[in-house]
């Protein structure tokens, strides 16, 4: 059986691209069209539930507008997806009327939290703001050193405790330091944590509370980092983190790979959390504001 699969998959990868091209160049909309569209969406990690919803919605629109050509359907589908991703939304990050502004960054293990913080820090340093980083990952080996190296590279300050320390204490000190030093922006790194581990979820709630107590109104953004290679588990991640702390936006990382990151469509659909930023590489410059139209274009191949 294995051999069949391997052969099948080699063909898969080659075939999918063709299919995508074919899908919208076909003249007529029929069952095949919808089956192919399902494959496109699911292969991009949009997931069964949201894909089904999108296809039904598209079908309805096409019927209403009496559209029969696939080319036109593509435009309608794009519009529909862009609307779903809040195409018109203002994605600028919230800053406090009076500095410091505090962003809290969280997510499961290895998704790109620390790197995204470095990229954000770099961006705002370029814009002339003073930036402080809080080494809130006191758990992972050399996580503090990792952030420390970035702080040097991007020219941001760093507040750290010892490895194994209490992350809430780190962010508490960092918020106070940010206020005392009149820093514009404080970025709080946290340890990667699976949303299923209740002790770690309690910990992130506490971190959030501590920030709020040290500086009313903070954190001004709570950004959940999702890895574009993540599949359906991304939905659970978003739901559970959202339940623990009010998440204000998603940073979608690793879009420079071949994964299309369709999970954020499901996340938006099912939790309402908007994508604000995307990571497109490992370097400090590789961060962009999420562009729904571009994203949808890439999603559809």
């Amino acid at each position: 059986m294995l051999k069949i699969f391997k052969e099948g998959l080699r063909r898969t990868r080659e075939a999918l691209q063709d299919r995508l091209d074919q899908l919208f160049s076909k003249n007529e909309i029929n069952d095949d069209f919808f089956a192919d569209l399902e494959e496109v969406l699911i292969s991009a990690d949009v997931g069964v539930e949201t894909s089904t919803k999108i296809i039904a919605l598209l079908g309805q629109r096409l019927r209403e507008a009496k559209i029969k050509e696939a080319q036109k359907a593509r435009e309608i589908l794009k519009e529909l997806l862009i609307a779903l991703m809040d195409g018109e939304k203002d994605r600028s990050l919230v800053f406090a009327p009076v500095p410091p502004t505090v962003f809290l960054v969280l997510g499961v293990n290895g998704v790109g939290k620390t790197t995204s913080i470095a990229k954000l820090a770099y961006h705002y340093r370029q814009a002339g703001k003073s930036v402080l980083l809080a080494a809130g990952d006191t758990f992972r080996a050399a996580a503090i050193e990792q952030l420390e190296e970035w702080s040097g590279r991007v020219g941001a300050g760093l507040i750290k405790h010892q490895s194994g320390g209490d992350p809430s204490a780190v962010v508490f000190d960092a918020v106070n330091a940010a206020a005392a030093r009149h820093v514009d922006l404080l970025l709080c790194d946290t340890a990667g944590r699976l949303h299923t581990k209740s002790n770690l979820i309690e910990e992130i709630k506490k971190i959030n509370r501590v920030i709020g107590r040290a500086l009313p109104g903070a954190p001004h953004e709570t950004l959940l980092v999702l890895d574009a290679t993540t599949g359906q588990n991304g939905i659970a991640q978003a739901k559970y983190f959202q339940e623990a702390v009010p998440v204000s936006g998603v940073i979608l990382t690793k879009l420079d790979g071949t994964a299309r990151g369709g999970i954020v469509v499901a996340v938006k659909d099912l939790t309402g959390i908007p994508v604000k930023l995307v990571g497109i590489g490992e370097k400090k410059e590789d961060l962009q504001v999420f562009d729904p139209a571009l994203f949808v274009e890439a999603l559809l191949g």
Partner: protein, 448 residues
């Protein structure tokens, strides 16, 4: 919900189908569509899922399913068996290091768990009597070298590093040092990279040529989605993998990437990473993975166990009784005995998907083997008449039963109450017209 998603859906599907009489090939196809959905929801690649269900179909439309009393269970069994087959036997072995030193390369995407797995594998090998050396060859990510050095220090494993020297240089010198220091395995932690990054993929090819590794293990995050086929396919094609490590299985991901990776590379999945701590590393279990992908805990073992002990004929009778709600304590006793034959109760309940979550949700929910024994003793101390008509058990009878079974009147009261509740619950189930799959388990009374 006691049983996981797919099991539930298949029961429903077949229940509906059965009402119209004979099952046909079409019906099985319909059921397999549910299977396909479950696979997709578990992140099994679209094409892999389709090919897999097609391959399973042949077996499923055989008489096995259509003639079965329990087609839902049969389909699950077949799907499960085929999944295990596809995922391979347990092959959690690393080839022997002869002649030493031999090199193991860990490769994969950014953040998949290579560095952590390098240390975990090192520990595992050392526990097996080996003398591994860890090598820090990620010269790109900030503090990647320190990360491995820290893990080595914390766990008493030697780590070789040369700062930001070229990875091949690092690897070659590490091999020399291993020869000198009698390290038999040399575990190389490489930098995370995208499979489409040709420059960095070439670096790995260079390492492979220069070090002639015994094993090249792809480290894959179990939460990976549809892209797993592209990643694993490319890594395999360019490097010739010998195995896979699947990480972050301690979360709630269904882990369909395992199936995709296996299908596209044919390489055995050798280890599972089950946490951030160093001992959270285990041989890979294809059977557990199959159940997990299907979203059913270990429901399969449960079905098997149930099938071993539950007499089909008796079950049918029981089902009828359940339907007519004429279940008696006599049947209850029989159920008790069957459940007991299936093994320790805790273990059984552990097999039921969602049970852990359910038990967290319902406070005071606990299962007690002793309770089960007590219940058995109590029912055994009843007369036949009492078992058939529990209504007649008045207080003097209760006292007698308590004495006879070495329990207290409160115990007897509680059992009778539980039995009453179970009947009520079964009534709800049968009015929902669920199959006997659920009902015949008879586990309810022991969950307090």
């Amino acid at each position: 919900m006691l049983f996981g998603g797919l099991a539930e859906k298949l029961q429903d599907t077949f229940q509906k189908l059965k009402r119209k009489g004979k099952l046909t090939e079409k019906d099985v196809e319909l059921a397999l569509r549910e299977v396909r959905m479950a696979l997709l929801e578990a992140d099994v690649n679209y094409r892999v899922a389709r090919d897999f269900t097609a391959a399973v179909k042949e077996r499923a439309i055989g008489a096995e399913v259509i003639k079965s009393l329990t087609p839902g269970q049969q389909v699950i069994k077949i799907v499960h068996e085929e999944l295990i087959k596809l995922m391979g036997e347990t092959q959690s072995k690393i080839a022997p290091p002869s002649p030493p030193p031999q090199c193991i390369m860990l490769v994969g995407l950014q953040g998949s768990g290579k560095t952590t797995s390098a240390a975990k594998l090192g520990l595992l090998l050392r526990r097996g009597g080996h003398n591994p050396l860890l090598v820090a060859a990620d010269i790109y990510r900030p503090a990647a070298i320190q990360q491995l050095e820290t893990l080595g220090r914390e766990n008493g494993l030697p780590v070789f590093s040369l700062g930001k020297e070229r990875p091949l240089q690092i690897g070659l010198q590490a091999m020399q040092r291993a020869s000198r220091e009698q390290n038999d395995y040399v575990i190389i932690d490489t930098a995370g990279r995208l499979h489409i990054d040709t420059e960095l993929m070439d670096e790995l090819k260079g390492l492979k040529e220069g070090l002639k590794p015994l094993e090249i293990l792809l480290v894959v995050d179990a939460m990976t989605g549809q892209d797993a086929v592209n990643v694993a396919g490319t890594f395999h094609q360019q490097l010739g993998l010998t195995g896979v490590i699947l990480t972050k299985l301690d979360g709630d991901t269904r882990g369909g990437a395992a199936l995709s990776v296996r299908a596209v590379t044919g390489c055995p999945i050798k280890f599972s990473g089950l946490g951030e701590k160093m001992d959270a590393f285990e041989p890979f279990h294809p059977d557990r993975m199959a159940s997990r992908i299907l979203g059913m805990g270990d429901v399969l073992s449960l079905i098997e166990k149930a099938q071993q002990v539950v007499d089909e004929e008796k079950s049918r009778l029981l089902e009828k009784k359940l339907r007519s709600q004429s279940l008696t304590l006599e049947d209850f006793l029989e159920q008790l005995q069957q459940v007991r034959q299936m093994g320790p109760l805790d273990e059984l309940l552990g097999l039921i998907p969602g049970f852990n979550r359910a038990s967290k949700a319902m406070k005071n929910l606990s299962v007690d083997e002793k309770e089960l024994l007590k219940a058995e003793a109590i029912v055994k101390s009843m007369t036949r008449q009492e078992r058939l008509q529990p209504e007649i058990i008045n207080s003097s009878r209760r006292r007698r039963i308590a004495r006879g079974s070495g329990t207290t009147v409160q115990d007897v009261n509680r059992l009778l109450k539980q039995f009453g509740e179970m009947k009520k619950m079964l009534k709800q189930f049968s009015s929902m017209d669920k199959s006997r799959f659920k009902k015949s388990k008879g586990l309810f009374p022991f969950i307090r």
